[in-house]
């Protein structure tokens, strides 16, 4: 592994690069282990107490019937059988996967396109304005902005249909037709989230040495072709980070569909986390809710593992 980009603060200092030491003395190993222990302690202890223990609790809970009010009764794996036979649960998994595919793809596409465009020649202040604008939605609260969006996308009174009406488009049932609703939820989600991938890509692009572009230009590669053959492979590690984080977040989407459509029309935008919430806090079936949570966890793990596996083939490290 080498990294061609030099962290900013170091730039002024010339760097001696002696040959790497082949073996470290044992005393230093002990020091390293001690330091590692100290450095990791806050994170690991915190995670064990506030995440691992509660997760273990949830997994345990999935083996019980529990309505919070009475004491739990052991039910074996019956909760899993029940949720796997429940049409709403299965539909919610399908919806979540569909959502993930479109949301992550769109988010990466938009972010990458805009990052490439912002990376082109333009005045510095203008670039800074664009960067801030694209990052901005990320500082807003998903819940309150979804309330605003709900009005903007209203079929009869919303600003968006009014704007479309100006150019002669008939009112679109953004939130009230089964096909459009999922697309609208994806749009609102991507609108809020793409800023993060955008920033990652801007950073990634800055890391690609100018010489490579110049060399590519000498070879006659320009425009789209240059991006496809030169930029994209070099950007692939960033792409991996952005897609791993994007997928993990998308599979847990809750606020946008909860506020915008409450899962409807029908079940068309009901996501897994919404089902977990409804099963636990509305239907008081905490065992079943935990079972769905465990299934979601397994799904996310599987998708992430698959990503890392695929990344070995497609991700190109400089």
């Amino acid at each position: 592994m080498t990294n061609t980009r030099i962290p900013p603060a170091r730039a002024a200092r010339p760097e001696p690069s002696p040959p790497p030491a082949p073996r470290r003395p044992p005393a230093r190993d002990r020091g390293t282990r001690l330091l590692a222990t100290l450095f990791l302690a806050p994170t690991i202890v915190g995670i064990v107490v506030f995440t691992v223990v509660p997760i273990a609790g949830s997994v345990g809970l999935s083996l019980f019937h529990w309505n919070v009010i009475d004491s739990p009764s052991y039910a074996g794996l019956s909760a899993y059988g029940e949720v796997l036979g429940d049409e709403t649960v299965l539909v919610s998994f399908r919806n979540t996967l569909v959502f993930m595919v479109f949301a992550v793809a769109l988010q990466l596409l938009v972010a990458l396109t805009l990052a490439l465009a912002v990376n082109g020649r333009m005045p510095v202040w203008l670039r800074s304005v664009f960067r801030s604008a694209f990052f901005f939605p990320l500082v807003l609260s998903a819940a309150s902005i979804s309330v605003v969006m709900k009005y903007l996308f209203n079929q009869d009174f919303g600003v968006i249909n009014w704007l479309l009406g100006l150019v002669g488009v008939a009112p679109v049932p953004w939130l009230t037709s089964e096909n459009a609703a999922m697309a609208t939820v994806v749009l609102v989600y991507v609108w809020q989230q793409f800023g993060f991938s955008f920033l990652l890509f801007v950073g990634g692009l800055n890391n690609i040495p100018k010489e490579i572009h110049e060399a590519a230009a000498l070879d006659g590669a320009t425009g789209l072709r240059k991006h496809l053959t030169v930029t994209l492979p070099l950007l692939s590690p960033t792409l991996l980070v952005a897609s791993v984080v994007g997928i993990i977040n998308a599979l847990q989407v809750f606020e946008q569909p909860y506020v915008l459509t409450n899962g409807g029309p029908g079940d068309s935008t009901r996501t897994v986390v919404m089902v977990i919430y409804e099963t636990a806090f509305e239907q008081l079936r905490f065992g079943e809710a935990s079972a769905v949570g465990v299934l979601l966890f397994v799904l996310i793990m599987a998708v992430t593992a698959l990503q890392f596996r695929l990344s070995r083939r497609f991700v190109h490290y400089q």
């Binding site: 592994m1 030099i6 962290p7 900013p8 603060a9 760097e15 001696p16 002696p18 790497p20 030491a21 230093r28 190993d29 020091g31 282990r33 330091l35 590692a36 450095f39 806050p42 994170t43 915190g46 995670i47 506030f50 509660p54 997760i55 949830s58 805009l114 465009a117 082109g120 664009f130 801030s132 604008a133 901005f136 500082v139 807003l140 998903a142 902005i145 605003v148 903007l152 600003v159 609108w191 920033l199 990652l200 950073g203 990634g204 800055n206 890391n207 320009t222 425009g223 072709r225 590690p237 960033t238 991996l240 984080v245 993990i248 977990i276 636990a280 949570g293 966890f297 992430t304 490290y317």
Partner: protein
Amino acid sequence: MSQATLSSGRLRHGLAPWARIAGLAVCALLTLGPVVWTVSTSLRTPAEAFDLPPSLIPANPSTEAYRGVFDQIDVWLLALNSTLVTGLIAAGQMITAGLAGYAFARLEFRFKKPLFGLVLATMMVPLQVTIVPVFLVLKSMSLTDTLLGLIIPAFPTAFGTFLMRQYFLGMPKDLGEAAMLDGAGPWRTFRSVYAPLAAPGLAIVGVLAFNYHWNEFFRPLILETSGQNYTLPLGLVSLQGNLGTGSISVVLAGVVLSMIPAVAVFVVGQRPLREGITSAGVNR
């Protein structure tokens, strides 16, 4: 013939600069549109709130809605609580993520891979699944209905640790090796070589933590019971009024007010953020 060459040439060179900038401007407007609508509606009376065409600059701007927010809720107490919670979480996450990220990137120890996997795995569990057990854990520590109960569980951050690990991996390895050859131990190598370079990366962790926790709703709703412990997102709910009868202008004025600190943090953190984001995410 020359025509064909020209057009294919344009294709290869991509869009003209002005077209690219115009396209970006349109995208920026689309991105900011809903925000602009929110701000301008908070400055209108509710009767004008849903006017079409929406007048982006209100005909007679009124700050009445903002006065309404201050009349109806204790903005200062809520903001103090939110600032304490968010500020301490951001600071805490910068410390835990900086240290753990460094350990995963630059130190050798046993069980490194499974431990890192464990950290990553915690990103994959939705809050809704664990909130009741978390509440019970906090209760056993007498931390329910305190601000600390919101803060302490948020100190470890899987995402921040992941980012900082990428960030440290992005720094040249030979830096540290040189220091070690000079006789520096692992602590001094960290302290004097790598830590000073970590600021931009930590800025990302800090800004993202601030954004997320400033707007957090569900955890405070479940954990805080006394009105004195409410954070801004909780307080703003009052503005909606019984059965949604509150004034839309006041509701949106509340949203805009609560947006300001997050924007300020973003503006201040923007430069280190940009530098940081440039260095993270390049290497595995």
